[in-house]
């Protein structure tokens, strides 16, 4: 992708899954990459795999004060932010009737509060500098209903509207986009699925398979690059056609 060489990129939740693939892709594009992740061991392993990372900061995006501290550390590492990839997220699998207030708060705090804290810290630096791109992790879950993920779906729908509003307020200095993946095959999925479960999900997706984390990383790279200067304010769906049809087509 054009225009990513030497760009200062921060990726939250970069220690594993889609985040780790995104770290790899941006390094490959020649960017300077720093990661914020609450998983300390995962962060150390990432650092070992990618010695050319600018840094890995151990912080929980759900904690506003921790995010503030992480960005001060980031200022020392990168001297600013050109691209923020708001990737960190969690999901819990539970019936709507059984969601406890603590579980609800936990999901909201990472998936929606965390996106807001990181986006605001990033935007502050971008507005004072040469502008930039903020990409928030949405999900097809923020556009369609999925049983047993009521809190996650609500948070992701929130991320999409947050994205649109940020884009309106921060234009033309900062572009703000949401990436909305469907099913992605990560280590987390691999641990949870039986082969039968995977086959059943794959059969529902028009492309007949899960995404690889690197396929989502490629979309992040495109949207952040000089190849997409006119894209802002929209969710971009990357789901193998999964929600093109909804339940009726499955």
């Amino acid at each position: 992708m054009k225009g990513l060489t030497d760009k200062r990129v921060v990726i939250t939740g970069g220690a594993s899954g889609i985040g780790a693939a995104t770290v790899e892709r941006f390094l490959e594009e020649g960017a300077r990459v720093a990661v914020i992740d609450s998983d300390e061991a995962g962060g150390r392993a990432l650092r070992k795999r990618h010695p050319n990372l600018a840094g890995v900061i151990n912080a929980d995006v759900a904690d506003a004060a921790a995010v503030d501290g992480a960005f001060q550390e980031l200022d020392g590492l990168l001297g600013g932010v050109d691209v923020a990839i708001n990737n960190a997220g969690i999901s819990l699998w539970h019936d709507f009737m059984n969601i406890t207030p603590a579980e609800w708060r936990k999901v909201m705090s990472v998936d929606l509060d965390g996106v807001f804290y990181v986006a605001q810290q990033s935007a502050k630096r971008m507005l004072a500098d040469a502008g930039g791109v903020i990409i928030n992790m949405g999900s097809t879950s923020g556009m369609n209903g999925y049983p047993r993920y009521a809190d996650y779906n609500a948070a992701k729908a929130g991320v999409i509207e947050l994205t649109r509003t940020m884009a309106l307020e921060l234009a033309p200095t900062i572009r703000v986009i949401a990436v909305c993946p469907g099913y992605v095959w990560t280590a987390m999925q691999e641990a949870e699925y039986t082969p039968e479960m995977k086959a059943a999900v794959d059969a529902k997706i028009p492309l007949g398979r899960h995404a690889t984390p690197s396929e989502i990383a490629a979309l992040f790279a495109f949207l952040a690059s000089a190849e997409a200067p006119y894209i802002t304010g929209h969710p971009v769906i990357i789901d193998g056609g999964e929600i093109a049809g909804g339940l009726a087509s499955r």
Partner: protein, 313 residues
């Protein structure tokens, strides 16, 4: 063409990878060795732990791909034809204007690319069938990319719209895209690989003023894209659409005239969106390139909105 940086500290270097061997910065570092000598040289580069971007390998995103672009004699179609060819694709340029079509083909050839012009009106089934047949004949029987870009615009509301305008608008955008897909898909399915990109519009998602037939055609394209993605995904076909806002093309100048507005006033209105300007054909061509390339390998049934935030609020 983009340049992919290669950090020798992280990547296993294949010294026999031709673009790398021919790369001047690589040659400078390791010489032009082959076989054992080159392997030794590559090992030296690995040891060097050179900074990222020390070696840049040109990557063509559509190398050896065969593409058809409709409405490629001007605007976004023309920019896309030039860009796709620059990225290594062999391109069939179609449109109704012979002279302009030949100019586009000549420009591609002058830049070292490969293209043919096939005069066609996508409203006609026979023309669409012929475009596909001539593409297969010209480029070795393959077809990888179909960009349904052709379209016309007439400003009108439901009362003013004539039957001729309705048919011209809906048939060129919507029926034409279906016809081109109808004749392209059998070859793509036989290959188990193909990409279709439909030129929709932000006005295929939200309504616009004095554009009844256009909104109907573009809205139809957005949903037809999803329907085709569902039907042909498992056959290896990806179908997506682009939704531009106002883009600086001859279509805009035509619309300004039809609305009896000066071009300057019209453009001022069109630029009234979050990014504060209209789009360029090249920006839309870049988005089409992304959808045509393997970088979007998990995207299908999607509408990529490229409008400077126009319909975000």
């Amino acid at each position: 063409m983009t340049k992919r940086s290669c950090s020798p500290g992280r990547f296993k270097i294949d010294p026999n990878f031709e673009p790398l061997r021919k790369n001047p910065s690589f040659q400078k570092l390791v010489g032009e060795g082959k076989g054992r000598r080159a392997r030794a040289s590559a090992a030296r580069v690995e040891e060097c732990k050179l900074p990222v971007s020390a070696i840049e390998i040109p990557v063509m995103k559509l190398k050896h791909r065969i593409a058809i672009i409709t409405g490629a004699t001007s605007g976004i179609g023309e920019a896309s034809a030039l860009l796709f060819a620059e990225e290594g694709a062999k391109v069939t340029v179609t449109g109704r204007d012979d002279a302009r079509g030949r100019n586009v083909v000549a420009a591609i050839a002058a830049a070292g690319g490969t293209a043919v012009f096939v005069r066609a009106d996508v409203r006609l089934a026979g023309d669409c069938e012929r475009v596909v047949a001539e593409t297969l004949r010209a480029f070795g029987g393959r077809l990888d990319i179909l960009f349904n870009n052709a379209g016309v615009f007439h400003p009108h509301n439901a009362i003013d719209c004539t039957v001729e305008e309705w048919d011209a608008t809906v048939d060129s955008s919507l029926k034409g895209a279906w016809l081109m897909a109808k004749y392209s898909l059998p070859t793509m399915i036989a290959q188990r690989r193909g990409v279709i990109i439909n030129q929709a519009s932000g006005w295929g998602i939200q309504g616009g003023d004095e554009a009844v037939a256009y909104c109907a055609a573009k809205g139809g394209l957005v949903v037809m894209t999803k329907a085709m993605a569902i039907d042909h995904g498992k056959q290896g076909i990806r179908v997506n659409c682009l939704c531009p806002g106002d883009v600086e093309t001859p279509m805009l100048a035509g619309d300004a005239e039809a609305r009896r507005m000066t071009y300057a006033d019209y453009m001022k209105g069109a630029a009234n969106r979050p990014l504060g300007r209209v789009g360029t054909p090249s920006e839309l061509a870049r988005a089409a390139l992304f959808l045509a390339s393997d970088d979007s390998s998990f995207m299908t049934g999607a509408a990529l909105v490229v409008d400077g935030g126009g319909i975000a609020g």
